[in-house]
């Protein structure tokens, strides 16, 4: 174990924190400096995330990468730990991959629509990374709040009564959820006497009777919070309003925020409630709630008129699929779900940004721009465009191709990664009980819902595509900068890479799930993590004096 690798674990939290703080020292008018700091931070974050990903993938052999970071060098159950395993490394990479396109997209114009965009963006990344890394429930709460506080600001970036109204609902729901989080955490502490996830997994076997009831109640309340975040029906009515009101790059990065809830549910259900007396706690809620969410999202996708709402309901379909599939609690299916999560998050992020570009050409959409046009007049607008950069040639063609790619990805048609993901999940589900007997009714329901939701996405995307690209050809061609088109194309190219590299990616996901299903490895790594500067011979008993 070399020192710098170990310290790399905390870098995904420190880099955005330092960058976010540094950004506050510059005036809003120094946009170039601010943009530079933000971009450098995001690039560094991506480099760190990919390094951690490789280290975590290398496995924890003898003297290899341990993946546990003791904050302040306190031994595990007493201090706070950060843990990198395959799952958290995957989430870190996904976050940083989404952050770069969203940031570049924002740099074209949106970052100037309000104050402190870059600081809030960096703090959001810090909260996300912290939530993925932490191995402690209360610390998870803190990072959740960091992430949410930044997201409140980002959601209302650009102002306007629509955003403020959506933001108010969003904040009220999340404040109530934060209180539930505290109730759940303290009930767990009261019954188990620990907040360290690994320690909790050890102690849960020893808790009996009333205390177990309290613990399960606490875990249930905690679960509600993550389900609100993930957008499970009926806890998701805030989501379409909030996501469709947000500015495009913000909505793009919000696509990963709904996955934080899913990540925590996956982590806790397999680590703490994987085996023993409380095994499988709440799996039925996930299964049926997830199916209801798919149905709700599908109806929403079919019914939505505006593209922004269509994308928001696609977030719900994606969440519902993941929840329902996790509720089946089967290794092969979960691996497919992880693949689906990566693919659908990138798709939705690209789609949110694409929508803004497409709607720019329409009269109804892009209210902020319409206001700008009214206020300054058309000529002035053109002049400003020239200053900003070159416009994209053949804009409509490129937009149309990207739109079609998003449609294919969302509906899960071949040849892109959406198809591979759905195929992996469906084969897993159908092969699940092949040895034991006939396929259960709930599995058939999920299969049916998955295929139906794909069909609905296809219908809606086709309808919207015809309306925007074919019906309004004689209308104004949206002015789109290369800088705004490139992030969308990058994300779509990444899904293409994911399709080509589907084999290695699926192997990684299967390995991840196998790790998650053996919580003993995780627990052992955390509890027996060596403290820095302590001689190895003294042994990792942790109970000794100074």
């Amino acid at each position: 174990m070399s020192g710098w690798q170990q310290h790399l674990i905390i870098a995904p939290i420190l880099i955005p924190l330092v960058a976010g703080a540094l950004l506050l020292f510059f005036d809003e008018r120094e946009r170039v400096v601010k943009a530079m700091i933000s971009v450098v931070s995001c690039l560094a974050l991506a480099a760190v995330a990919i390094t951690l990903f490789r280290l975590a993938n290398g496995g924890s052999g003898e003297g290899g990468f341990e993946g546990v970071y003791l904050l302040g060098n306190w031994p595990a159950p007493f201090g706070i730990v950060l843990v990198v395993d395959r799952l958290s490394a995957l989430m870190l990479v996904l976050t940083s991959i989404l952050a770069i396109p969203a940031l570049v997209f924002a740099l074209a114009r949106w970052h100037a629509a309000g104050a402190h965009f870059h600081t809030l963006f960096q703090l959001l990344l810090m909260g996300l990374n912290g939530a993925f890394l932490t191995g402690d429930l209360f610390n998870l709460f803190v990072f959740f709040e960091v992430m949410l506080a930044a997201s409140y600001g980002l959601l209302m970036h650009g102002s306007g009564s629509m955003r403020v109204k959506a933001g108010m609902h969003y904040i009220a729901v999340n404040l109530a959820a934060a209180l539930c989080f505290l109730i759940g955490v303290s009930a767990i502490y009261g019954s188990a006497g620990t907040l360290n996830m690994a320690d909790l997994a050890v102690r849960i076997g020893e808790i009996e009777g009333e205390r177990r009831m309290l613990l399960e109640a606490g875990a249930g309340i905690l679960g509600i919070v993550f389900l609100i975040k993930a957008g499970m029906w009926p806890l998701n009515f805030w989501l379409p309003g909030a996501y469709s009101a947000a500015t495009a790059p913000v909505a793009g990065i919000f696509a990963i925020m709904s996955k934080v809830g899913i990540y925590v549910i996956l982590r806790l259900s397999l680590l703490v409630f994987g085996q023993g007396e409380s095994a499988g706690l709440g799996l039925n809620v996930l299964l049926y709630g997830g199916m209801a969410t798919i149905a709700f999202g599908t109806i929403g996708v079919l019914a939505s008129q505006a593209l922004g709402r269509l994308a928001s309901y696609s977030v719900l379909v994606s969440s519902g699929t993941l929840l329902a599939v996790l509720g089946l609690s089967n290794g092969q299916v979960t691996a497919g779900a992880l693949f689906y999560m990566v693919s659908s998050t990138m798709t939705i992020c690209a789609f949110f940004m694409l929508i803004e570009l497409v709607e720019r050409g329409q009269d109804a959409g892009a209210s902020v721009l319409a206001v700008t046009m009214e206020a300054y007049g058309d000529a002035d607008e053109e002049e400003r465009e020239v200053e900003v950069g070159i416009t994209m040639p053949g804009t409509i063609a490129v937009l149309g191709i990207c739109f079609a790619a998003c449609g294919i990805l969302l509906s899960g048609l071949p040849p892109l990664s959406g198809f591979v993901a759905k195929f992996a999940m469906l084969t897993g589900m159908i092969g699940m009980n092949a040895q034991e007997g006939p396929i259960s009714a709930s599995v058939w329901w999920i299969v049916g819902l998955l295929i139906l939701s794909g069909l609905a996405a296809l219908i809606s995307m086709t309808r919207a595509g015809i309306r925007t690209f074919w019906a309004s050809m004689e209308g104004t061609v949206p002015r789109v900068l290369v800088m705004e088109m490139a992030p969308v194309m990058l994300l779509i190219a990444l899904t293409l890479t994911l399709t080509i590299k589907a084999g290695p990616a699926m192997t990684y996901m299967e390995e991840t799930v196998r790790n998650l299903q053996q919580p003993a490895t995780y627990i052992d790594a955390v509890i027996n993590a060596r403290r820095a500067g302590v001689a190895e011979a003294s042994g990792p008993d942790g109970g000794g004096g100074l």
Binding site: M156, S161, M168, A172, L175, L179, L182, I183, Y189
Partner: protein, 112 residues
């Protein structure tokens, strides 16, 4: 003492839930504040209710006379975070009032 604490938490939670379901933003924020007081007291409660007990460990001190320091730390963090987010909500509330001209949570009065 446990009974008083439990009743206090219950009353505050009940009032808080009722208030956050009301249509005026001011009622919502008062409801959220009441709920957060109730939650803070609840966090205290899970550490076990003890009076005149210090959270300091020393040589030869009986553990049963100590109070658990962790809930204190948790409640302190919860107060700070809750206070900050409530203040933020207050700003948004004022912005919404200014933009829409009404203090209804939906930004418009319900049709009579």
């Amino acid at each position: 003492m446990e009974l008083v604490l439990a009743i206090g938490i219950g009353v505050m939670t009940g009032s808080g839930v009722w208030l956050i379901l009301r249509p005026r933003t001011y009622q919502v924020i008062i409801g959220l504040s009441l709920l957060s007081y109730a939650v803070n007291l609840f966090i205290f409660g899970v550490g076990g209710v003890k009076s005149n007990a210090a959270p300091l460990l020393g040589e030869g001190i009986d553990i049963s006379t100590l109070t658990d320091p962790v809930p204190h730390a948790l409640v302190l963090t919860a107060i700070v975070i809750g206070f900050a987010t409530t203040a933020l909500f207050l700003v948004v509330l004022l912005a919404a009032r200014g933009l829409t001209g009404t203090d209804h949570v939906d930004g418009r009065e319900q049709p009579k």
